[in-house]
Amino acid sequence: MNSFFDIKKIRDDFPILSRKIYDKPLVYFDNGATTQKPKIVIDTINELYSEYNSNVHRGVHYLSDKMTEKYEIAREKIKNFLNAESNSEIIFTKGTTDSINAVAFSFGEKYIKEGDEIIISEMEHHSNIVPWQMLCQRKKSILKIIPFNDKGELELEEYKKLITPKTKIVSIVHTSNSLGTVNPVKEIIDIAHKNNIPVLIDGTQAIQHRKIDVKDLDCDFYCFSGHKIYGPNGIGILYGKEKWLQELPPYQGGGDMIDRVTFEKTIYAELPFKFEAGTPNYIGAIGLSIAIDYLNNIGMENIYNYEKQLLEYGLEKILKIDGLKLYGLAKDRACIFSFLLNNIPAYDTGMLLDKMGIAIRTGHHCTHPIWDHYKIEGSARASLSFYNTFEEIDYFCETLKQIKKMFE
């Protein structure tokens, strides 16, 4: 590993990683659910509440000015991180779910009518299924699904066949939280754009693992959650191309999103505030921007390269465990291992790993259709991050072998 990547120093930045669980060192392999926070993010949140707390926008006093400035700097940093065109394209939301719901509602209100079609895929998280289903119920429109093959790769030829003149939007997950598949979103976007169809990308499990450039992708919307990228909970991002955000109606009304209110009518505020009704989660937003500073200091490319090594090492080790079935063998994938061990219920595997200090997730991971595809109930999922180590993978694999023996 190159000199920029000092794993010991990185681990020291995350206080929780030094704690013990049941007297054993914590091995945190549940990063797909949420990531741990570096000390700088924790300290910043503490400092903001201790020294600066005040509501943003239109305050006449010092603290409000300071907090507003920090909040808008946070927006600027996120714009730069995504390589967006302007700050107007960065909307602070509660998280990915909130972001997708916002687009499904606003886009749906403006552009979707009876018989129109929306394309998603078989590997979506429920948060990229249910909002569209709700829209389809409201508007009597049709949801169409791109299937995936048993390796966990989307069938792009099928996708092309699904597109018709009635297709109004495509909404696709960048990286599957259950299978680890990294979808060829650039190609997916390109195909849609050739048919004048906008594309939303759910980047929840991609943003923390590789450099995302929304201009290069040319996506129309990109969503992610702060807590999955080492930032605070309750904050998320909706990136939208300005032309779309200008056209779409807001999906929530309230304070902060208005220019002028009378009982006859309301004139909405300019972007991005039009989509930020109510007091925003300004501390969360600033915390997120500090997490992004932290990642920028390490370098997204360094993170990508290190995690790729973890993935390759992990795959080699885990596939050698007799009786382990891995779900998701796509060519391009993130460091996520979804598996069943010798048909032992995933819950039992997870519970015993927990007793050994290893935190993973078990169940359906909010992707029922994926498990319907494989005709199983769910899986055990280990999802790794750049603060995990090769030694942790060794310990994880040895523990799995031990668990397997317990059930024989």
Binding site: Y22, I344, P345, A346, Y347, D348, M351, L352, K355, M356, T362, G363, E377, G378, M406, F407
Partner: protein, 140 residues
């Protein structure tokens, strides 16, 4: 044996284990030994739906005694079921009505019965208690 005597016996059995893993090993062994229930009870009508672990439950009141039919997809859960059945199976409802399942705390596995742990054990214990209450009140 009374439910209390059986609970004390279970507590004694668990005292020999040095760590949680040994306890779970024992639960898995009990789970493997637990006789599966008749397939007719393994339907949605008898399902205690957990987010992760499906468990099937049915009870009957025969000859003044409680008969339980319980099964699960999880061997660890089945291990717990085996312990609960040792205490409750074939007992008079009035004998188990006021049983506080204190063995759960004493064997150090209370966490598995938490309502926050969606593995259906919490719901299972509540089901047993509610059926036992019903039969002790209504079938005398």
């Amino acid at each position: 044996m009374t439910p209390e005597e059986i609970q004390n016996q279970i507590i004694q059995e668990f005292e020999k284990f040095n760590d949680d893993l040994e306890k779970y090993n024992y639960l898995i062994k009990l789970g493997k030994e637990l006789k599966p229930i008749d397939q007719k009870y393994k339907t949605d009508d008898y399902l205690i739906r957990g987010c992760q672990v499906d468990t099937w439950y049915h009870s009957e009141y025969i000859n003044e005694k409680m008969i339980f039919y319980i099964d699960s997809v999880s061997l660890i859960t089945k291990g717990f079921i085996s312990l609960l059945l040792r205490i409750c199976q074939n007992q008079k409802p009035e004998d188990i009505k006021n049983t506080d399942f204190y063995f759960i705390d004493k064997i150090g596995l209370r966490g598995q019965f938490s309502p926050l742990k969606d593995n259906s054990l919490f719901k299972l214990v509540n089901k047993i208690k509610s059926d036992v209450n019903y039969y002790s009140e209504n079938k005398k």
